[in-house]
């Protein structure tokens, strides 16, 4: 496989490819492909890690709320448990009655039925892949006439984030750590599981705007190798547009059922602040007015406080693809999965967490 990529790479002095998804970063490392790629191929790791891009002030607001409401339980996906907030406090340190970790939102239905005396606040995070699960939960809450579950909808959208990263290579408002247009990715490996929901046409405008090929890929090492090969061929031919490597699962139109459900339940926020990318217009979802009975933002007064990051933490620049995890002085020293200082080390999809696996692998060989 590596030989095949080497053959295709001949004729290129350098190629910069951004994989958007943290899941792709993880698969590149886990499969060994990242180390095997020809030297002229440079992978730029994108911000597609939902936990990494969530500003910690949301978690802080929920933790403050738990302090004010003893009968309230926060329900979260596992990766959120260890995100540090003010004073390094995490949800994992809260009393067990205050926080429940779930794999699927459907588990909340049982929790709510078994504990009618408690209220449950679901931190609904994730990209378009995860938003439909929140919408399915909401429909079921209404069908069952459940009154003790509230959803803090913090789902985010992929295309504005991809665009923000691409734009940041032209210089941005804050002027720090920004790459130059010459460093901008020449191709993108697009998000396979997001696209199962959205379809692939939502990336077409970006491909045309930046005149690049975007290849939507599956998550096996062999998928990614094939996606890289497709990109090299497309670059050789000077082709731009959106292409589908993940044909065994991905229909170009996505999941229409999920799209309808999202349109019924959610609405696009006018703007949303992302960790590392700043405030992006129309980049996140909220519950629409028809579903306000379940909306935690309507039910509770969430008070937002600033949560400063560690001064040496490079998560922001790493999420913009402008630094690598091993450029950070904290990486694998002060910042480790057992005591993470930045979100990119917490989540298994975070680039720092993925790179640590690479370091450990290299140490073994």
């Amino acid at each position: 496989m590596n030989e095949a990529l080497r053959t295709l790479s001949k004729g290129f002095s350098s190629v910069r490819i951004m994989e958007f998804c943290g899941g792709h970063t993880h698969a590149l490392v886990r499969s060994g492909l990242l180390s095997l790629l020809p030297k002229q191929l440079r992978m730029i790791h994108g911000p597609g890690c939902p936990v990494c891009v969530l500003p910690p002030h949301h978690l802080q607001a929920v933790m403050d709320l738990l302090g004010e409401h003893p009968s309230l339980t926060a329900v979260v996906y596992g990766d959120l448990m260890r995100i540090p907030t003010l004073g390094g406090q995490t949800l994992a340190q809260m009393p067990p009655s205050s926080v429940k970790m779930i794999y699927s939102p459907m588990e909340i239905l049982k929790l709510a039925e078994e504990h009618p005396e408690r209220q449950f606040l679901f931190l609904a995070i994730g990209f378009e892949t995860t938003a439909p699960a929140t919408a399915v939960l909401l429909k079921e809450l209404r069908r069952r006439n459940t009154k003790n579950v509230f959803v803090l909808c913090l789902h985010v959208l992929t295309p504005p984030a991809v665009q923000a990263v691409m734009d940041s290579f032209c210089g941005g408002a804050d002027g720090t750590d920004l790459g130059s247009p010459g460093d901008r990715p020449e191709a993108i490996i697009g998000p396979g599981h997001v696209s199962l929901v959205t379809g692939i046409s939502c990336f077409e405008a970006m491909a045309q705007r930046f005149k690049i090929p975007i290849v939507i890929s599956g998550f096996e090492g062999s998928d990614l190798a094939e996606a890289v090969a497709m990109i090299l061929r497309l670059l050789q031919q000077g082709q731009t547009g959106v292409f589908n490597q993940y044909t065994r699962a991905l229909r170009p139109e996505g999941n229409r059922q999920a799209q309808s459900l999202l349109a019924e339940v959610m609405t696009v926020r006018s703007s949303f602040v992302w960790r590392g990318l700043g405030e992006l217009p129309r980049s996140a979802l909220a519950l629409n007015a028809e579903w306000s009975e379940f909306d935690a933002e309507k039910r509770f007064e969430l008070k937002y406080r600033s949560v400063p990051e560690h001064p040496l933490c490079q998560c922001g620049a790493i999420l913009r693809g402008q630094k690598r995890p091993d450029d950070c002085r904290l990486f694998n020293k002060a910042c480790l999965p057992t005591r993470p200082l930045g979100a990119c080390m917490v989540s298994s999809e975070g680039a720092c967490h993925a790179y640590l696996q690479r370091v450990e692998e290299e140490a073994r060989t």
Partner: protein, 80 residues
């Protein structure tokens, strides 16, 4: 978070199914793939089926880049 896995549907009752992967069973919500049938390979994310796999099976694929028959097939495709 965007991690989704291929799972074989082995039981179905309305919008709820039971999936199996690597000997482990899990409940799956099928409301977004209403035409799913027992025997289908589904892509499941946080307990919700999002898509059906067509053709080649991926359930149980380890994802290793260097040691499967799939890889030799892919190498062939890469050079086409």
């Amino acid at each position: 978070m965007c991690h989704a896995i291929p799972v074989k549907l082995i039981e179905k009752s309305g919008d709820i199914g039971v999936g199996e992967r690597g000997g482990l069973r899990m409940e799956i919500n099928l409301s977004l793939i209403p035409d799913a049938r027992v025997g289908d390979e589904l892509i499941v994310h946080v307990g919700i089926a999002l898509a059906k796999l067509e053709g080649e099976s991926s359930a149980g694929n380890s994802g290793s880049a260097g040691n499967s028959n799939e890889d030799s097939e892919v190498t062939g495709r890469l050079l086409q």
